[in-house]
């Protein structure tokens, strides 16, 4: 392959000239290369610069140069050998000539200084020029032994002397006590003039175990110290170093070796206690975790496996829904056997606090759009023949859709639900104030199943659900005015089912006496925002235990707008189902409660609902002898127990 020219064309003549010259020269070069490739020219001497030429046996070689070396880039020496022609070995038989190509007219000159015993020719500083090609040749009597390969430039034949003052210091020992690091340092060779900057040297350290055969070489670097990592305690190491010019190829000789050894140092055994401590610590932590898990099993199960919401019917104790208690349930629901309600699915009731009650829409199984259904529901509800307040008012708070999502299809047949709802109609307690709208559900958070019952509306003007617009300090609830004077508004929307069940129970008991005097009822006052159930008011806990709560304290009045009187829509629930009560109308227009709080059950298993205080307790059913303050609107399961005669 001939080297290619890069031709540029500044000017045409120049172009031509250069082109021609280039062609000529390249052809010349190509020829030479070809010839050399063919090895056509005799090579009386072998070159010392090319290492791989040494494979030729020296036996057949004539006189040749063995090596030319410079140590400091200021002087250099060349050695020759007579080769196989021993008659030339006597000193003076061969003479060294050199050519310094620093000008086109340079000529061959004889060696400036001979050292015959070494067969060495020494070129001192005056005769040494760097960056200028030298060629050397041997001449005998009439013969010139010349190899074209014996040409060089001084910087290429530099092999610096090895560094001096090599020593080592211990850096550190590994924690395991098995390995250590050593810092080796040295000084640059004195012959190399590093201080002036004339030579830039890089160093290579090699080390090996004492009896090993292979040396480990570290990375070359120009500094005068280096760290050897990972030597083993107890072993003896041998270290030596050599140097070379940066960015050149030829290394100098190795220095003398030094020996490194570090004997074992008794090391404290820190590891065993540490391990023990670790193990114990881990065991302890595990134990604590186990304890926590075991003690909080319920909660963890709740977190990990949240229960699937299922429809619940507010006010019905799940216990009752289980097998064996259908009669009781029926009894309760039917107000003593008027009609037997079919047994509900036993699965309805669960005790998850967060479960909202499920609206069971007869026509539309999903609890979905309450507003839409409300009209018909109300109508249906109002159409119920039964006025007994029985069962419970399942008031579902429309706040959020939880519970509805589970789209539980109640199994209630239509007219059962009607009856159910009928029983929801508010009953008037005997007293104004004793119609406690105790929070219906003390069963803790029990979702209600709001059953929307369709059917003819018998109670034309009765809204089954009434909105409590305000809570009187005395404990009375101001419900939204409805058509029915007697119907007291219940606060619907209570998930206030979330009354503590058990707590209520006891309270209920305790309240028996005070029932009359206790205006407490826990209502959830929902302010109608214009339709539907205003969801904002979710209150969790409307109930404080009736015995203890301050009147009205347990309620959250979202936005009492007592004066806002919405026509109770004469039973039309197109407008908001919540009708604000008008306390100032004590007259016949008792606000029709959309939701009625069941205060207690009377003897006839009717639900006593809390009438508005100013109204005649016409709707108030005779107080149940039980005098059990009922949770608002709902009968909690444990209360049911009380209700059972």
């Amino acid at each position: 392959m001939c080297p290619l020219f890069s031709l540029e064309e500044p000017h045409i003549e120049l172009r031509l000239a250069t082109f021609i010259m280039a062609v000529l020269l390249s052809s010349n070069l190509c020829l030479i290369l070809l010839v050399s490739a063919l090895d056509w020219l005799p090579t009386p001497a072998s070159a010392f610069l090319i290492d791989w030429d040494r494979t030729t046996s020296s036996a057949t070689l004539g006189p040749h140069f063995t090596d030319c070396i410079s140590r400091d880039q200021e002087t250099f020496r060349c050695w020759w050998s007579p080769g196989s022609l021993q008659n030339l070995s006597s000193p003076g038989a061969l003479r060294v000539f050199y050519l310094k190509k620093d000008s086109p007219t340079s000529a061959w000159k004889e060696c400036p200084e001979y050292i015959h015993e070494n067969r060495e020719c020494f070129f001192d500083a005056n005769h040494t020029s760097v960056w200028i090609p030298y060629c050397v040749q041997l001449r005998g009597q009439n013969v010139t032994y010349f190899n074209e390969d014996d040409c060089f430039t001084v910087e290429n034949i530099v092999r610096p002397d090895p560094p001096v003052s090599l020593n080592w210091t211990l850096l550190n020992i590994s924690p395991s006590g098995l390995n250590y690091d050593v810092l080796v340092s040295w000084k640059p060779p004195p012959s190399a003039d590093v201080g002036v900057g004339w030579m830039r040297i890089e160093y290579e350290i090699q080390y090996r175990e004492r009896n090993a055969t292979n040396w480990e070489a570290l990375e070359k670097q120009p500094h005068t110290q280096q760290t050897i990592y990972g030597l083993q305690i107890g072993k003896e190491y041998e270290v030596h170093i050599r140097s070379r010019m940066q960015a050149f190829v030829k290394f100098g000789e190795f220095s003398d070796s030094i020996f490194i050894e570090v004997t074992e140092i008794p090391s404290k055994d820190y590891t065993v206690p540490l391990t023990l401590v670790l193990i114990f610590g881990v065991v302890g932590v595990l134990t604590v975790i186990m304890l926590i898990v075991i003690s909080q099993q319920q909660r963890i199960m709740m977190i990990l496996l949240p229960p699937v919401p299922a429809p619940k019917i507010k006010g019905i104790d799940s216990e009752l829904l289980k097998k064996g208690k259908l009669e009781e349930l029926n009894f309760i629901l039917n107000g003593g056997g008027v009609d037997g309600l079919p047994a509900y699915a036993t699965d309805f009731y669960q005790e998850e606090p967060w479960v909202e009650f499920i609206e069971v829409d007869e026509e539309d199984a999903e609890g979905g759009d309450k507003e839409d259904n409300y009209n018909s529901d109300t109508q249906r509800l109002l159409g119920l023949p039964h006025r007994n307040i029985e069962g419970f008012s399942a008031i579902s708070h429309p706040d959020d859709d939880s519970g509805r999502a589970s789209c539980y299809d109640t199994d209630l047949p239509e007219h059962d639900t009607q009856r159910l709802m009928a029983s929801l109609l508010p009953g008037q307690p005997e007293d104004n104030e004793t119609c406690l709208d105790a929070p219906a559900s003390e069963t803790g958070e029990k979702p209600l199943i709001q059953t929307q019952i369709g059917g003819p509306q018998t109670w034309v003007n009765t809204d089954l659900y009434a909105q409590v617009s305000n809570v009187m300090p005395s404990g009375g609830v101001v419900l939204s005015p409805g058509q029915q004077p007697k119907i007291q508004e219940n606060t619907s929307g209570s998930e206030r089912e979330t009354q503590k069940g058990g707590k209520q129970n006891e309270d209920v008991e305790g309240i028996k006496e005070q029932k009359r005097n206790e205006p407490q009822f826990q209502l959830f006052v929902v302010v109608p925002e214009g339709g539907g159930y205003t969801a904002e008011n979710n209150t969790q806990q409307t109930s404080t235990p009736p015995s203890t709560s301050v009147p009205g304290a347990g309620y959250q009045t979202i936005q009492p707008q007592p004066m806002e009187t919405k026509p109770a829509a004469t039973g039309d629930a197109n407008e908001s189902p919540y009708i604000l009560p008008e306390p100032s109308q004590p007259q016949l227009f008792t606000p029709v409660a959309d939701y009625t709080v069941v205060q207690e059950l009377d003897t006839h298993r009717s639900l006593l609902l809390n009438p508005p205080p100013s109204q005649s307790p016409s709707l108030c059913q005779p107080q149940h002898p039980l005098k059990v303050p009922m949770p608002v609107g709902y009968v909690t399961p444990d209360l049911l127990g009380n209700l059972t005669p």
Binding site: M1, P3, L4, F5, S6, L7, E8, P10, L14, T18, M21, A22, L25, S26, N28, L29, I32, L33, S36, A37, A47, L49, I50, Q73, E74, D102, A125, T128, S129, V130, W131, I132, P133, C135, E148, D149, D150, C151, F152, T153, E155, N156, D193, V194, G195, V196, G197, W198, R200, Q246, A247, F248, V249
Partner: protein, 212 residues
């Protein structure tokens, strides 16, 4: 390395006028950067030269075969240690700059050539590009050093600006176009070694205390 060197050089010039020590330190810094740069440049040229020898002219020592002198042979350079030390600082600096200026174009064309020929692998082609860029950067670096030195009075300001047209014209001579690739690489290898050497000597003459 290029960018860090240049940025450090800019940073170094932010020394206020009053502090000589700071100035000399920054000058030493500048020199170090420049010397590092030149060392790297020489390393690359060495690599390229060896590769070229290996692939194209494998068997023989080619020194004897250099058919002509390098185009920079006309630049008088000190060829020995004593010469380099005896020469005036300004002359030495000028030599360095002349060399750098002379090589800018040839290397660029060499790279262009290499980029087109597929004989050289990409690695070598990248090196040739790097080499040509380094020459340019190094020249700018050395000029900054010279400015600094002139500012400090280390050298007198007789040194002309070698970015001047005549210097550029000198490099535009067609001599280098006659060289083949091998010769070019050989010559540049030699010259980059010279540059590296001269820079180091210059630095140790001017600021001997830091790292000489």
């Amino acid at each position: 390395a290029l960018c860090s060197r240049l940025s450090s050089m800019r940073a170094a010039s932010s020394c206020t006028n009053g502090q000589t020590g700071c100035h000399f330190l920054s000058l030493a810094n500048l020199f170090d950067r420049v010397i590092q740069h030149s060392a790297r440049m020489h390393g690359i040229s060495n690599d390229l030269h060896s590769e070229f020898e290996l692939y194209f002219l494998p068997s023989k020592n080619q020194i004897g075969r250099v058919s002509r002198n390098c185009h920079t042979s006309t630049i008088l350079t000190p060829n020995g240690k004593e010469n380099a030390q005896r020469i005036a600082r300004e002359e030495l600096t000028e030599v360095i700059l002349k060399l750098l200026v002379a090589w800018r174009e040839p290397l660029w064309h060499f790279h262009q050539n290499m980029a087109q020929h597929r004989e050289f692998n990409n690695f070598s082609s990248n090196k040739s590009l790097e080499m040509s860029e380094m020459v340019h950067e190094l020249r700018r670096g050395v000029q900054k050093v010279v400015e600094k030195m002139q500012m400090l009075g280390v050298i007198n300001s007789s040194l002309g600006n070698l970015g001047s047209p005549e210097a550029l014209l000198a490099s535009d001579r067609a001599e280098w176009r006659l060289m083949n690739d091998y010769d070019l690489l050989y010559c540049f290898r030699r010259d980059s070694n010279k540059i590296q050497n001269y820079l180091k000597i210059l630095k140790c003459r001017i600021i001997p205390e830091h790292g000489c």
